[in-house]
Every structure is written in C-alpha cells, then in structure tokens.
C-alpha cells in the first residue's frame, strides 16, 4: 500500500504540473481530472475509501464536468494558446516562483524540526477553537456575513431573471403619450 501511496502522490504532483504548464485549456483540464483521481487513490491507500469515492463522484464526476462544459462552450482558439505561452515565459513566473520557494523552504524546515508548538505568541489556534469562537462570541458577525451573501444571491437572481419581451410602442400610444405630456 505504501508503494501505491507514493506512486499516486507522484502522479498527482506531475499531473498538477501538467495543468499549469499545458497551453491547451481542455488538455489542462484533463490533467486536472487525472490529478483528482490520483488524490482519490491517495485516500484509498490511506484507508479512507469513502473519502476517495466521494472525491471522484463530487470533484471528478460533477465539478470538473462543469469546468470542461464551460471551457468547451467558450471555443477558445489560437489566441488563448499564444497568451498561455506568454504567461509561461520565465520572466513571468520567475519572481513568484522565487518567493514561493522561500515559503516552501520555511515550511519544510518547520516540518523537519517537528516543533509545531513553536509559535511567536500565545498558543496554536486549532480549527476547533476557530469554530467555537466563530459560533460563540462572534455569532452576530457570522450571521451578518450570511445576510450579505443572501443579498448577493438576491441581486444575482434579479439581474439574471427573464424579462418579458418589451413591445415597441405603437404610433397611437406614443401619440397619446405626447398629448398627455
């Protein structure tokens, strides 16, 4: 099972690199699907088949289908490939890659020492602590944020609603309107 874990992990990393470096959007999405399936295999090898199956059903089977659907509808042509090529020039990615490399080194160094309790001030804030804080003392703010999202939803549904086709005003109507004004 360990071999399966490392192999599928390697496939996931390579496929994700393929997503970034591929210039054809649909091929890049294909790499992303492979990456998701590899992550599902990682779950399987870790002894969590349920999570693995859900990963494939939800991400590979539903969300990625919508991605592919939209990309296919856009009918992206040569211009997009050229633009992707331009983005892949070292001049574009060298700076961010350097900064990300510094972060990677820091992360690996911290993990290497295995000293998770070492923080600058106070103690490590776990997900549980965040949850109790959010739904305890700060409940009002969470609810307000939810209402903001609801407002956005209502706005989106208002903007996207079907309008009844507007009839152009007939001569008689516009004439009547002129008389009234």
């Amino acid at each position: 099972m360990e071999i399966a874990f490392y192999l599928s992990g390697l496939v996931a990393v390579l496929a994700t690199l393929g997503v970034i470096s591929n210039t054809n959007p649909v091929h890049a999405l294909l790499y992303l699907i492979v990456s998701l399936i590899a992550v599902a295999l990682v779950f399987f090898s870790l002894g969590a088949p349920f999570a693995g199956a859900l990963e494939i059903i939800v991400y590979a089977g539903a969300i990625m289908v919508l991605f592919v659907f939209v990309v296919m509808m856009l009918n992206l042509g040569e211009a997009v490939v050229a633009q992707e090529r331009a983005w892949l020039r070292p001049r574009t990615w060298l700076g961010p890659a350097l900064l990300a490399g510094v972060l990677l080194v820091t992360l690996v160094g911290t993990l290497w020492r295995g000293d998770i309790g070492l923080v600058i001030e106070g103690e490590t804030l776990t997900a549980k602590a965040v949850g109790t804080l959010l739904f305890g003392p700060w409940l009002l703010i969470v609810e307000l944020a939810a209402i903001l999202l609801l407002a956005a939803l209502v706005t989106a549904s208002h903007v996207g609603r079907l309008r009844p086709p507007e009839k152009p005003p007939t001569d008689r109507e516009s004439g009547a309107r002129k008389e009234a004004s």
């Binding site: 649909v26 699907i33 088949p49 199956a53 089977g61 289908v65 919508l66 296919m72």
Partner: protein, 324 residues
C-alpha cells in the same frame, strides 16, 4: 508442484472468474445489438435482420467483420489524443463497474465496502467520454451533442445517487453483496417503489438510451457526439451503450429485485433471467416511446424526479426511525 501454493491457486481462480465476467459482459453487449434489432422488428411489425445464418443469428459476426475492416479515420481537424481517448473511457468506465456486481454467492469480482459509490464514481467518469468525444471531433453537431449529453447526464446523475440512498438506508450498507442478502424476505422494489422508478429513468438517461437519446438524435444532430468516429472507435461507443444497458439491468436486479434469490432454479439462472427481463424492457421502451423535446427532458428531471427521490428518501428515513 510446490510452487502451486493454495494462495496462488486461489488468486488464479479469482482472476479467471474476473476474466469470464469481463468477457461475458462484452459479449452480452455485442449480442444485444442483434437481439435489439430482432425485437424491434417484431414489435414494429417488420422483419429485422434475418438473412445471415439461421434466423439472422450470424448477423453479429457479419457486423463485427464489417466494423473491423472499415477505415479507422481521424479527421485532420480533430484533437488527436482526446479523440482516441474518448472511446476508451466510454468502454472502460462501464466495464469497470461490473467489478462490484455480485452475480451469485460464489461469483463476483470485487467485494468492495463502497460498491455502490464505486458504480456512481464510474458513471461520473463516463460523462467525459461523451464530452471529450464531442469536443475533440471539431464538429458543431458533435459539440451540441456533447453539450446535451453532459447537461442531461449531470441532471440525471444527481437523483440517480439519491434514488439509491433509500436502498442503502434499508440495507444499512453500500456493499452490493450485503444489499442482496438484505432482500431474502422481501425485494426492495416493494418498499422502494419510487426509488426503483426514478433509478430506472436515471439509468436509461445516463446510458443515453431511447427515449433519452437526445445527445445522438438522428433527426436533429445527425448522430451527435460520435458523428466523426468510424471503424472500431465508433464500435466502442456503440458496444459501450449496450454494455451500459446490461450494467444498469444487472444493477436494477441487484438493488431492487433480490439479485440471485429465487426458488427452485440455481442462483445464476435467476440472475440471468431477471437481467434478461430488464434488457428486453430497455428495447421495448425504445420500440414504443417517441423522443421528447430536450427542454422537457431537463425539466422532467429537475422538477419531477428530483423532488420525488427527495420525498422518497425522507419517508424512508422516517419509517426506518419509527420502526427501528
């Protein structure tokens, strides 16, 4: 014969069983192409293919020879890797699903704890065959077919999973073998009648069978997503459809009609008989029903089937809570 240890013998037997099931699934899919045409002929009051061999029984061989010797043409405007990959996905995802189906107490490939979820995952992967096939063909009809197929399959897969959750709740397991064993006294089609109806509809829609063959509607789309395919690549889409039909029939039998359970006859015969009934039902539906309009197919899925499965699931859960 020292190297022939008991574990090796066991592994060899399991492998040969898996191979037999694989071959049986593919062969049954191929035979169904001819059986369907004969049955359609019977129900539509015409002859059907009855010239090759006695009662047209060799029609399958003739078709195979024809399809193998056709030119395997890839259009120059097609996206080559995806064009080749699509039929492979179509066939492989469906064949892999046969892995979880328990045929008799002794026959079956894998005894997965998440058997049903595995089938749903493979059904999800199967959408890509149509999507990639339609897009990589570089043909507008193919693209429209792929659009329709993916929209239809996504909508119907939503409640396909939900329609099975009632069965899962009653059997208390995702394992198909345990689901069959839970039906020794009463088949799940009786308590889960609405689940059965919606799963049947969703199964027909997901395999793009008539009357849900919108993606390949001949009159409007000139065969839809596989219009540019020829030779055995088309053959894989074509056989894949029938393999899907066999798969859905076998699943309906496993989930709702007690699998191999039945009096007198041996389990394998019961399983095959029940599966055959549903295969014939698939053909009868094609012979009898006209193709509905696309928007009606979509609104039927979302407005009738999805609420129905949700209500079914709620009532099932309530009954289990009250009785248990």
């Amino acid at each position: 014969m020292n190297w022939l240890s008991p574990t090796l013998v066991e592994a060899l037997i399991a492998m040969s069983k898996a191979l037999v099931i694989l071959l049986a699934a593919v062969l049954l899919g191929a035979v169904m192409t001819v059986v369907e045409r004969r049955l359609l002929g019977l129900w539509q009051d015409r002859h059907g293919p009855n010239r090759v061999g006695p009662f047209g029984s060799l029609q399958l061989v003739a078709d195979m020879i024809k399809i193998f010797f056709k030119e395997d043409w890839i259009p120059p405007f097609a996206d080559r890797p995806l064009f080749v990959l699509a039929p492979a996905i179509a066939m492989a995802s469906l064949l892999l699903s046969f892995m979880v189906i328990p045929i008799t107490p002794g026959w079956g490939v894998a005894d997965l704890h998440i058997g049903l979820l595995f089938f749903l995952a493979m059904a999800g992967i199967n959408v890509y065959a149509v999507l990639f096939g339609g897009w990589s063909s570089g043909n507008k009809y193919a693209l429209i077919g792929a659009m329709r197929a993916s929209a239809q399959t996504l909508s119907y897969e939503v409640f396909m999973g939900l329609s099975l959750m009632g069965v899962v709740a009653m059997a208390d397991s995702f394992n198909l073998r345990e689901i069959v064993n839970a039906q020794t006294t009463v088949w799940f089609v009786i308590p889960q009648f609405f689940g059965f109806c919606t799963f049947l509809i969703a199964g027909i829609a997901v395999t793009h069978r008539h009357p849900f063959d919108q993606p390949e509607a001949e009159q409007e789309l000139a065969d839809g997503y596989h219009i540019e395919y020829s030779s055995m690549k088309f053959g894989m889409f074509f056989i894949g459809e029938y393999v899907g039909m066999v798969l859905i029939s076998a699943l309906i039998v496993t989930l709702f009609f007690g699998g191999w359970h039945g009096p007198l006859l041996p389990p394998i015969v019961w399983f095959m008989l029940k599966t055959a009934v549903f295969l014939v039902l698939f053909v009868l539906l094609r012979a009898a029903l006209p193709r509905p309009r696309y928007d009606r197919v979509m609104s039927f899925g979302w407005k009738i089937c999805l609420p129905l499965t949700l209500i079914n699931l709620l009532v099932t859960g309530a009954v289990i809570l009250i009785v248990g």
